[in-house]
Symmetry: T
Subunit: 147 residues, 12 copies
């Protein structure tokens, strides 16, 4: 089918494998990404990736996705909880976005229970470690092929 | 592998296909369940199902799952937002539970943004229509096989 | 006209006449129901009644009403204030529902001032003792005949 | 019996039939009032009416009702939600007051869910369009005759 | 000394002696006013009085006081708790205003604990029945003579 | 073009030039109005003006504007923050209304940050002293000519 | 004296001894109940027991207790925190009810600090493990014998 | 008449004349007390005084007043806003207590707007500087002589 | 067994028998204490008692208990609701503390529903009048003997 | 006069014309800017423009404006609602800033009703589509010429 | 330079070294004080110390410091979070006060995040164990020498 | 000892000396930094500095510090109050971080009282002007040498 997907990672996710292993696991973002790309390829999907710690750069990556991508898998990290700018970007480009989280944010601090992005996303997947990304890709593909 | 999974559905999900099709789609719970069971079988997983509109009956289904199931896929419907009894049941049996929702609860009324169950679940999947169940099964299997 | 109406009573209403007479009066639910059925009959309306203390059973009574009733008169008792499951059931079956209360809930504890059901009901009648039911029936008939 | 009732309407109700027809219907206040007076007459009830957009004038109408009326049917419009002066007037005169609303205020903006008047009224009727007034009259008569 | 004082009474205070005697006592506003004027005269103070149930009329009485009065004794009744218009009028004319209440508002409903007027008044006297007015006059005179 | 505009001023604005000059400036409402009318005339716009301290009178001025005006420039003063009656009047007549404020309400007390009128107005202009009115007129004309 | 007491246990208490032993201890409900019945017998008290995970069934057990019991020892489990239906049942039957908890609910999650039942109970005992039941029985007997 | 009154002053009032003169004035507590005692004597009232910075000592002074005083004038200073112990002491002894404040607490920080004592006092006088004490004495005498 | 227990009473409990008999009963603290000491002696427990209205003195009594007591029965009165100092003292000494209340605090004012002490106590007993102390002693002994 | 103004646009405003046309209109930021620059030139004003999706870059643009601009027209987009960094930048440079919004933010989601920037701005203009910018320029010029 | 400083310690700090060593460390207050006095002496500063568990005694120590001290290092312990009396004492004496905490209060319970004292202190130092005192002394000296 | 420390400054701190001198003083960041580096050198500490107005750049500076620094002195400016991304970065790298503020944030606007960073920092120092940095360095060194 030749779908193109953006895998977008927000702040501190470049620390994966380093940062608080008890919460986020010991695998690096590179490791997960490589496996996910292989997984995507087997489904004839092109997966481009971008990670940034900057809210502005993430906004722009979403804007640019408008011109080439069929959908976005987005782990917005901490920005999930307060970046209305990212929310507006998602609503603005009109692409289907799947919000993913490695940890179960609902089992952590109160302020992580609220997502300002979720209301403009297609759906949310949280708590399955590295597999959250794979499930996110599956969810997006189900949606894109169906629609 | 021979894993056994409980597919648990809460209040009003027996109305699927009837109830507010614009929100929940036009497929019945029976239709989705049948496909999901076939999907499970191909993965050598036995999927037993139970639906109830009664909080107490759902609590008991979780208790009984302790004796035979490896995990639970749980769409608790409205009880998601206030049933501390179900939360305690999940915490009490110690099984991995994946909370699933057909609709994107975060894009609906404020009171649907909060889950009292999520903090004691493995993770949450919401917003992908019938596919939320399939993704929930995949998520649970990834967890069970890994662990 | 041959309309059919469900008179649905929730938790503790079976105690009417016994329970806190200063708040709820000294008449039993049976007494009120009998008079109300006579009142309905004179208007060529069949009034079927159901009382339950179980949230699940009330949800199911609403589901079943879909198959035979033109509308529901519903005194949900304490569930008025927290049962999102009942709210979803009402929204799900799409029948006109009149929320009734014997006492003036707004003149009692703060937590009784809020109804989670009212937003999906046709309207609300509260505070007129046994007459709340009769007014509820009138209100429903006005609506059904008009529409 | 020769009862005398005040039909009291608050701010913007003189716009009925003009104002937001999708919410309030297309009938004028005059039309409804005329029918309601006929309805009252048939029950040997004198129905006097007063509408004002001024909180102070409404307070005074309630004060004056003390000297001639047996009860009040009151649609306080927007003042329902903040006029403690009207609340105090109702409590001060000690007449039975039925709070009525044309629309189902609970299905509208959050700030319309709260009535500062209801705790000192006999009861509340909301959501039945023009019929809310008729039901309000019935409710008041039931109360007056009973007491 | 020849001071001139406005005694300003807000909504429902014309009901004094009638309204809820257990809260407000059995004396009429006329009775209290007459005694207070005699009391004022003995101190060579001219006391003019105005009562209104209308927020706008009270605002205007405050405006006019600018041209002749040395201060205001103000029982704003229910408007105490929400009339920002009266607050702005008080701040606007720059006269010393003593807020008085017959009942102890802090011992009543929660919403009566908050005064939106008090922050722009000279001070507050509440809870001493008819004597609150006399104390208010004394307080104002102490202030005016001192300053 | 021959447009007709209502310039509506709420409570205490008749005190302009007198009241708290550090906040509101030293010009009178008459002075501003005269200049604004000249400004309007040069644009072939008839500007009629009304000021009242009474919520009810303001409601009625909005009602009457329905019969002759193309839009309203409204400085509701303190009523901005709590008059749901004015909000309902604006929504009821369906005219474009520009909410204006002389001072920057957001830089003042917390309770002035919230407008109950703004959600049903065309837009808001605040903080530019006497020029807020001129900008309000421009804004309204831009809207009326465009539409 | 021949008193009769209902020992009522709510949701998940049938899991005692299994569920989170670090919080609730390792003894089963059966074990505790047996000892408590022996303890009661020695005081010439008949202790009947009922456990249910269903809110409705618990409501009904309270209703039925009206006909035979002198009082109730009630561990409502999770329902403690939200079941207004149970609150109304307790208030309705007018029996003395002692609320008991095995764990110290105040040392756990915030939502466990609030009991909707306590205001209509005789008193509360929490935090003493299995002994909370024995203390609850003592407390009830002290009350019954005294009164 | 020979009445006996306790003048009770709470924390930091011994600093009067020293502490923040712009808020509290430049007179010492001794100075005010001396004048107030002379004022009391002329009315045949014995005024005993006690000041303490300790909550416990103030509680005890209230307890002891039970045995000799007819009423209390109480400036509780900061304890006004949080000392439930003092509230309970006032309620416990059943004497009439007039709460007084030198400054207008409502014109200061938000946390000073709330009094936990006022609901169990006879009334409140605030904002009149040293005269608040004299007015408080007058208020108490009016009450004691009347009753 | 020779256990030593501190019976600690907080503010206003020295007024027992005097203070609001409808809430607290007509027995004095001395009376209750004497009976409780006899009760303790029969169990070979030494019960030392201390009452203070001062937060600081109560803190110090807890500190000293570290050197001689096996546990504390603590009725902290009003301090229950705000004394973080007492909470820290309890946590600091590490003794088991049973929080007791004569009245059912949950059936009284909202601010009495919250205990800042309970999270660091062993458990809570409230609502059983004088018997709360006896039950508290039993509870503490059960705990001490078990552990 | 040769004034120099910075036109500053925040996140997602580069999407104008693309993003949610029903909310923001179909014109591009380039189109509006071009017209606004022509409009400025006719008033002898130099208008320099900067748009960024990065909070940091916007902070710096404000810093730099200190060195050359007489004032700022600022549409901060989503940052309006949470960027205290931008607020501090505005307060820090001390230039007059006019906050503008294309849509009427008060008629949208609750979280858009609050501006953290407005308290340090000169004033706010919202809801007039492209004309908000022109009105903002007029407002700023009125202020700059006056001052 | 001969500066004189008061080292003031509030409730439970006399337990240091005993109380919860994991939070507060194992050193006693005496040990820390001794070292701090030596440290002060080397800087030619006289350090007097006072510890009390009584709010009133701490208020008085602050009052007395007015007569001899140049500043205060204050660890108010639990009173930090609610003692408005201490806040008023600090504001009243006008001495520079440095608020210190041994533990990082922001990393503990929510109620410890708020200081009612900090707004009237010079600054705050928290989280550095025994060194918080030394840093507090340094901070105070920097301030005193500079000013 | 050869320790290496990162001095990290957030948004608007490059304006020091320019921005609101009454709050932040008249010294530039460069001036303070130079003195602090000299101070560090005398203690054999290498102090590297970084200032940015961009949240993302600050996140990355913290990430990089992992590879070379022993700790961080962090004045996060406005980001202190909402940047969960910075909080996660601090928690992620596991370095000791001292939060410093030039002004006493607790004496300013309410929103500055809360730090989202403090719970994951070693401690906080606020209110001592330029000396907050020096004290922060001392605090960090005490911690590093001790540990």
């Amino acid at each position: 089918m030749g779908l193109k997907i953006l895998l977008l990672n927000g702040p501190n996710l470049n620390l994966l494998g380093v940062r608080e292993a008890s919460v986020y696991g010991s695998e690096t973002l590179e490791g997960i990404t490589k496996d996910l790309q292989a997984y995507a390829e087997r489904r004839d999907v092109e997966l481009r990736t971008f990670q940034s710690n900057s809210e502005g750069a993430l906004v722009e990556a979403i804007h640019q996705a408008r011109t080439w991508a069929n959908g976005i898998i987005f782990n917005a990290g901490a920005y999930t909880h307060y970046s209305i700018a990212l929310r507006d970007a998602i609503a603005g480009v009109g692409l289907p976005v799947v919000e993913v989280h490695i940890s179960n944010v609902h089992a952590r601090e109160e302020f992580r229970h609220k997502s300002v992005l979720a209301p403009v996303c297609l759906g949310v997947i949280a708590g399955f470690g590295r597999w959250s990304y794979f499930l996110g890709l599956d969810a997006l593909l189900r949606h894109l092929i169906k629609s």
